[in-house]
C-alpha cells in the first residue's frame, strides 16, 4: 500500500454509496424536469403536479437512502 504514489485509504463502503447515489440522482432529476416541463406547458396544473412530484421524489430517493443505510451496515464487513 505505502509504496503506491496515490494510495487511497478509507472505507470501500463509501465508494459503494457513491455508486448507489447515481441512479436516484438521475431519477430525481428526471422527476423535477418533468414537473418544470409540465408547469411550463400548463401553469394552472402546478399544484397538482407538485404533490405528485413529491410522492415520486420520496419513492425514488429511498434508493439512495437504502444505499446510505447499507454503507453503514457493510462498513465493518
Amino acid at each position: 500500500m505505502s509504496n503506491l504514489a496515490l494510495a487511497i485509504s478509507g472505507n470501500i463502503a463509501v465508494l459503494g454509496y457513491g455508486l448507489a447515489a447515481i441512479g436516484p440522482g438521475v431519477g430525481v432529476g428526471l422527476i423535477f424536469a418533468a414537473v418544470i416541463n409540465g408547469t411550463a406547458r400548463q401553469p394552472e396544473a402546478q399544484s397538482k403536479l407538485q404533490s405528485i412530484a413529491w410522492i415520486g421524489f420520496g419513492v425514488t430517493e429511498v434508493l439512495a437512502i437504502i444505499g446510505i443505510a447499507l454503507a453503514f451496515v457493510f462498513k465493518n464487513g
Binding site: 404533490s51 430517493e61 429511498v62 437512502i65 437504502i66 443505510a69 453503514f72
Partner: protein, 260 residues
C-alpha cells in the same frame, strides 16, 4: 485542544448519536425522549389553545390552528384518500404530520438540535403504526381475502402472469412499504445530522485546532457552508414530514379504493 497545537480530527459518525442519559441512572430518558415529549406538549397546547375559544370571527391563534389543520385535511388527506372516506383518517394524519414535523425541525432549533427520528426505533414505530392502519382499513372494508386479492392481483393482468405478479405485489405492497417508510425518514435525518456535523466540526477543527493559517481560511468558508446546509436541512426536514404523511394517506387510499 489549545489553539495552534495539531490534534487528530475525529469525523462524526454513528457514535455521535449515542447520547448519555439526561438524568444519570435513568437510562431510557435521553435527548430524543425529551424532544418527543416536548413536541407532544407543544402540539397539544397549540391545538387546545387554538380550539378553546372557537368563534365565527377567528382570533389569530385559531386562524393559525385552522390553517395547519386544513393543510393536512385538504391537501393531504382529501387528495389522497378521496372525499368519501377521508374524514376518518384525518385525526391520525394530522397528529402524525405535526409530530414528525416538530421532531424533525428540532434538528434545526438552536439548543435542541437533535432530530428525534435519527434514532431508527422512532421511525420504526411510526411506520409500523401507519402499516397497521392502512392494512386494517383495507381488511375492514373488503375482508381478509378480498383485501389480499385487491392488493396482490391488479386488474387487467392476464392469468398466466399471476404466479409472477402475486409475490411481487405482495412484497412491494405489504412487506417493503413499512421498511421504506421508516428508512426514508430515519436516513434523511441521520444523514442530514452527520452532514451538519461534518461541516461544523470540520470548520471548527480547521480554524482552531489544525494550527495552519491557510486551513483556517478554508475552515471559515466551511463554516459558512455549514450554515447553508442548515437551511437545506430545514427544507429536507419539512419535506420528509410531508412525504411520510402523504405516503401514509396514499397507502390508505389505495387499500380502500374500489378499483385498482
Amino acid at each position: 485542544m489549545t489553539a495552534g497545537v495539531p490534534t487528530e480530527f475525529i469525523a462524526p459518525g454513528p457514535q455521535s448519536f449515542d447520547l448519555p442519559p439526561i438524568i444519570p441512572g435513568v437510562d431510557w430518558f435521553t435527548k430524543p425522549v425529551l424532544v418527543a415529549a416536548l413536541s407532544v406538549v407543544v402540539i397539544v397546547w397549540f391545538y387546545w389553545a387554538a380550539a378553546r375559544k372557537s368563534a365565527v370571527v377567528p382570533s389569530r391563534l385559531q386562524f393559525a390552528g385552522e390553517l395547519g389543520y386544513n393543510f393536512v385535511r385538504n391537501s393531504i388527506a382529501r387528495d389522497a384518500i378521496g372525499s368519501a372516506e377521508y374524514m376518518k383518517y384525518v385525526p391520525y394524519l394530522c397528529g402524525l404530520f405535526y409530530f414528525i414535523l416538530l421532531n424533525n425541525v428540532a434538528g434545526t432549533i438552536p439548543l435542541i438540535q437533535f432530530p428525534t427520528f435519527s434514532h431508527i426505533g422512532w421511525a420504526y414505530v411510526a411506520a409500523v403504526m401507519s402499516w397497521v392502519i392502512y392494512n386494517a382499513a383495507g381488511i375492514k372494508k373488503k375482508g381478509v381475502w378480498g383485501y389480499f386479492k385487491h392488493q396482490t392481483m391488479p386488474a387487467g393482468v392476464p392469468l398466466w402472469l399471476m404466479p409472477l405478479m402475486i409475490p411481487i405485489e405482495f412484497i412491494s405492497n405489504i412487506l417493503v412499504r413499512p421498511i421504506s417508510l421508516s428508512l426514508r425518514l430515519f436516513a434523511n435525518m441521520f444523514a442530514g445530522h452527520i452532514l451538519l456535523g461534518v461541516f461544523v466540526l470540520g470548520g471548527e477543527y480547521m480554524v482552531f485546532e489544525s494550527g495552519k493559517i491557510l486551513l483556517g481560511g478554508v475552515g471559515i468558508i466551511t463554516f459558512i457552508m455549514g450554515l447553508a446546509i442548515a437551511g437545506l436541512e430545514l427544507f429536507v426536514q419539512s419535506i420528509q414530514a410531508y412525504i411520510f404523511v402523504v405516503l401514509t394517506a396514499q397507502y390508505i387510499g389505495s387499500a380502500i379504493s374500489d378499483e385498482h
